[in-house]
Symmetry: C2
Subunit: 222 residues, 2 copies
């Protein structure tokens, strides 16, 4: 089946207290986004690579690619108002009978094994979403109080989230809702069961300055 990777990089630098969008920040002297693209390229260089960036960042990305001599083939497309709109807009033209992996641009530490597990399960069941167990005690808020819940019943969700293109397109025809925090939620809302797959703990999302420190250390250790 045809494989497509859509890397979504819509972030600004707000939560990083920086002018530089987090996906352009340097990790071992290369922008985060180049690490992310490279992992998928190492997994399978024959896939179709699509990178969704805010229009205002396209020129800067071009410059960065030149500066860092980044030659991995990929198509740059523009993002929408929210992550939902970015995905909706950029999957519309994809061939139905393909597998589309949607991945956060700021998750450069996804492992080749995670990617492989997701593609295999998605090929069999129509979708696959990586997750990890909850490492801490978990509590649920309820009004001003909270109560402990059984953490073994919960999972933290990562990306890549992989779907058959036709299901994904149908799901994204739904109206936008603010509680659609990932693609699995959108597809699930259509009535599809989501297939969870083991992710890798290092696959953190770079959001805050401390995350960049952590990612740098993990990358060095890989």
């Amino acid at each position: 089946m045809n494989k497509i990777v859509l890397i979504v990089a819509g972030g600004s630098g707000t939560r990083m207290n920086s002018e530089t969008p987090k996906q352009f920040m340097l990790l071992q002297n290369r922008p985060v986004l180049m690490h992310t693209l490279s992992v998928f390229y190492h997994y399978n260089r024959d896939m179709e690579f699509i990178l969704a960036l805010p229009e205002s960042q396209a020129e800067k990305w071009n410059e960065l690619c030149k500066t860092h001599d980044f030659g991995l083939r990929h198509q740059v497309v523009s993002g929408g108002e929210t992550r939902f709109h970015t995905v909706k807009k950029n999957i519309a033209g994809l061939p139905n009978n393909s597998l589309v992996a949607i991945h956060d641009g700021v998750r450069p530490l996804v492992s080749l094994d995670t990617i492989d597990r997701c593609f295999r399960v998605a090929a069999e069941f129509g979708n696959a979403v990586p997750c990890i167990e909850i490492p801490e005690t978990l509590r649920r808020l309820s009004g001003k109080r909270s109560r402990q819940v059984n953490r073994t019943k919960y999972r933290l969700i990562q990306t890549p989230q992989i779907f058959l293109a036709d299901i994904l397109k149908e799901a994204y025809n739904q109206d936008y809702r603010s509680d659609f925090t990932d693609d699995a939620g959108v597809v699930e809302n259509l009535g599809h069961a989501i297939h969870l797959v083991q992710g890798n703990g290092e696959n953190i999302k770079i959001t805050y300055p401390q995350d960049l420190v952590v990612a740098g250390a993990l990358l060095k250790n890989y």
Copy 2:
């Protein structure tokens, strides 16, 4: 009010694939546990410091203290069969009208602010437990399926968990249950409302080898 810190360090090196218990592993050339004790000492050197270690590790700890010239005053006590039994056994003799902070030995990155917030809230309400928001989409398993839940309604729980000694002692008079994964759960089971306080994201629990890498990087950045 009298302040007591009970640091619980019962781990072996199993999940670290190592012979060395994780609390003795080196972080910037010092055992993890020395970093942990130092933070509390920096917060308030006049507190009472109790360190619960498996009996088999006491001698090694003594040696490490000599090797690393570690002079912070603390009392070493022996642990029990589980964390529950370790706490139960070592709080029994503490003065009732004191605040007892129970902290994981393998959380060396707790911030002074987190400790301070917890002691202040516990002094007012009888208990305080630090928590952080959930950074990822969260799903709840249900049989072979799962469904997205509202992550803003959940919190990941850390330590130090601080309690009035008399409440804590009463709580630990209950029979052991395997779902008592932290002290808050034990106290809550007695009918007390738990008071959540903002923790700090760096305050990770060192469990797997990658955690040691992450902690090292965060420590360097502190």
